[in-house]
Structures are given as structure tokens and as C-alpha cells.
Symmetry: C2
DNA sequence: TTGCCAACCAACCTTTTGGTTGGGTAACTT
DNA sequence: AAGTTACCCAACCAAAAGGTTGGTTGGCAA
């Protein structure tokens, strides 16, 4: 069994991701994470320093994967919203991590808020271009709400269920069309149509 | 100091509401709740049975207030979304409680899921009427997304901040218009216009 | 006045928590 | 071959958690 620090880190992050997504920062148990990773608990502190720092590492990696998988917004806006919806349907952990983070930090700044803000500048720019808008606050809010459109039904499943669910689950058909299609249609209607000329 | 069971219950629920909104179910401390309420910890178990049951009681009351304050959806759809936004801006606890609940229960049914579903039937019906739609899944999804439109920027403040926030906070102006107005405009565009004839 | 019960509380118990420590071990350097 | 560094772990710790218990007391019915 060779020694491999980065492999240990990776195993810890993978285990922590499941645990944090399921239980949040306060609810996660350091012991369980270590056990799931097949690594001693102390390694968490050796490698990451604290439970909260580990959470940050998990989230950073998850968001990295998120942007890499999803790519920049381009082409049809509705289809972009559909892609966001598909991503979160297939990777429920990422959205849950974001929500735990939201509840944990609330209005106070994130530990790496600046990096995150900078990261979103690019996305906003790409989004503005496909929308035919000047990049700015307007485009940023439009992107924010496009993400919200796709994520909201998955973020509050109990509301989605009790309102529109019934026995068919989240992907239930709505008047014959899957929820996804409804969201795509809403997005197209909500967001300004791109200028047809480049 | 007279004995008054219902007053004790009320004090406990009020204290628990703050604590649960801030920390969630797992993060809330029974001791703190009791202390904040000026009541012995044991009373929580005497009156409610468990921490989780107390959470249910808190949420039931919060949602009750929510629907009572907000009323049924009627009149202009955009303005209804604006009202939802205003409510959650002024009462951040309710949305936080809903999100903690969402993360805690996830896809598994709520303890009182049936009552909740039934409760939403009326709202959906009212919403369908103002939209000029037949009450049904279509109207329910439209309502779900109207709520989402208003609540999303407040549900994920870290995203709102890093995307569109800057130094001006959540209520920041967007090209001169407050975020609320943008949401109202989005809602009007997204949702089907009500049939003009009754 | 007396008897009774719901409401109440201080103190306690068990388990679990995040975090630490001191001793070991593979592998690279010199 | 000796020394050094980075990694790893079993065992441990103080603090804090949710929940319980045994006994006390206010207030109403008889």
C-alpha cells in the first residue's frame, strides 16, 4: 500500500462531498468522512486544517466540475437552461452543496468571495453576448435568473412535489410535456431574444 | 409567575424559529432555544416530543403566517411576484426554514406532506384563475416558478452577490432599476398573459 | 380544605463531537 | 547507511450534545 498524499486527499474530498451534500457543514461527521474514505480522521486536519476548510475544498472542486461540464452559455438560451437543469438532475450534490453554503454564510462574505466573483465575470460576458446585451448588471441578473429557473424546482423538491408533483416525481409530465420542456419555454419567454444580426 | 402552557409553547416556538432559521435542524441547539425562551429545556420534550417535532411546529406556524400575510394570488401577476419578493425580503426566516426543510427531507416525503399538498390546491386554483388557465398541473408549475422567480435571488445570496451584487447588496439597482422591478418584469414576460375577457 | 394533575425545573446520564498527540513508517537526500 | 521529511494512524481528550428523571408547585374540582 504505497503512500500517496494526493490520492488520500482525493479520497477524502470524494467522501466529504457525499457527506457534506447529504448533511451540510454542521451535520457532517468528520469520523464518517474518514471512515468512508478509508483514511484516518487525523489526515483531514493534516491536509485541510478543519472541517470548514474541507468543505471549501469540496465546493471548489464541485464548482470546477460544474463549469467544466456545463461550458459557457452559448447558442439558444432555452437550451442552456435545459442543460443546467439536466446537469443538476444528474448531479444533485452540487446544488445541495450550494444551498448548504448559502444557508451557512447567508449575507456574510464567503472565504473566497473575490475569486468566485471574478470567475463569474466570464460567464456573464459570454451570456451577455448570446443575449445580445452589453455585459453588465443587466446581463448578470438575467444569468442569475436563468440559473434559478433551472435550479429552483430541484432546490425545493418538497414544494415542487406538493405543488405540482403528485405521484409522478420531479420529472413529471406537465400537460404532456416534461417539466424540463416547460422550463425551457419559460426561459425563452422570460429572457430577451438575442439580436438576430451579429 | 402564573403557569400558562400555551404561553410557554408560544415562547418556545418563537425562540425555536430564530434558532432553526439560523442553524437548521441539525445545527440548532435545544439548550439555546430553551434559554432564549426563558424556559426549561425539558419543556420542549414535554410539549413537542423532540427537536424535529418542534421544527415541524415552527414551520407550520411560519407558513401559516406566510399565506395569511401574502393572501391569494390575484390581480396582476407581476405584482404578485413583487409581493412575494417583498415578503421574503422582510421575513428572511421563512425562506430559510423552507430551505433547511428542503435539504433535510430532500426527496423523501414530509411528515405532513398531504396537508401541505392540499393547502396548495387552493393557491393553485386562485393562481390559475388570475392567469386565465384551467386549474391543473400547468397552473401549478407556473405558480411554482413564480415563487421561484421571487425567492431565488434571496435563497442563494452568495450567488446573487458574486454574480450581480458588487458593493450594493441584494437590493442593488440594475441599470437604474431595483432588482425587484427586474423580477416583476421577468414574471410578466414569462407567464402567460391573463385572458382579457372574464 | 383537601386531593389531584398538568406544568414546571435542576440535575443528571450517555453518547458523540471536533480536534490533538505521540509514536511509527516509507522513501528521498547526502 | 544515516538522517530527514512527509505521511499515516491508534488512542485519547475535553466539551457539548440530545434527551431523561425525580421531585416540586400552582391552580382547579369536589
Amino acid at each position: 500500500m504505497p503512500r500517496d498524499a494526493s490520492a488520500t486527499r482525493a479520497k477524502l474530498i470524494a467522501a466529504a462531498r457525499e457527506e457534506f451534500a447529504e448533511c451540510g457543514i454542521g451535520g457532517a461527521r468528520v469520523e464518517r468522512i474518514a471512515q468512508q474514505a478509508g483514511v484516518n480522521k487525523e489526515r483531514i486536519y493534516g491536509h485541510f486544517g478543519s472541517k470548514e476548510k474541507l468543505f471549501e475544498a469540496v465546493l471548489a472542486q464541485a464548482l470546477e466540475e460544474h463549469t467544466q461540464t456545463l461550458g459557457s452559455p452559448c447558442g439558444d438560451i432555452g437550451e442552456y437552461v435545459g442543460r443546467i437543469y439536466d446537469f443538476h438532475s444528474r448531479n444533485p450534490q452540487v446544488l445541495r452543496l450550494m444551498l448548504w453554503e448559502a444557508l451557512h454564510y447567508g449575507e456574510q462574505p464567503l472565504p473566497d468571495e473575490e475569486r468566485r466573483a471574478e470567475h463569474y465575470v466570464h460567464k456573464t460576458a459570454a451570456f451577455a453576448q448570446t443575449l445580445g446585451l452589453p455585459p453588465g448588471r443587466d446581463a448578470a441578473v438575467a444569468l442569475l435568473m436563468a440559473i434559478g429557473l433551472a435550479a429552483w424546482p430541484l432546490a425545493v423538491p418538497q414544494l415542487t412535489r406538493t405543488l405540482a408533483g403528485g405521484q409522478e416525481g420531479v420529472a413529471a409530465t406537465v400537460d404532456g410535456a416534461p417539466l424540463r420542456d416547460t422550463l425551457v419555454a419559460f426561459a425563452r419567454r422570460m429572457l430577451p431574444a438575442p439580436a438576430s444580426s451579429s
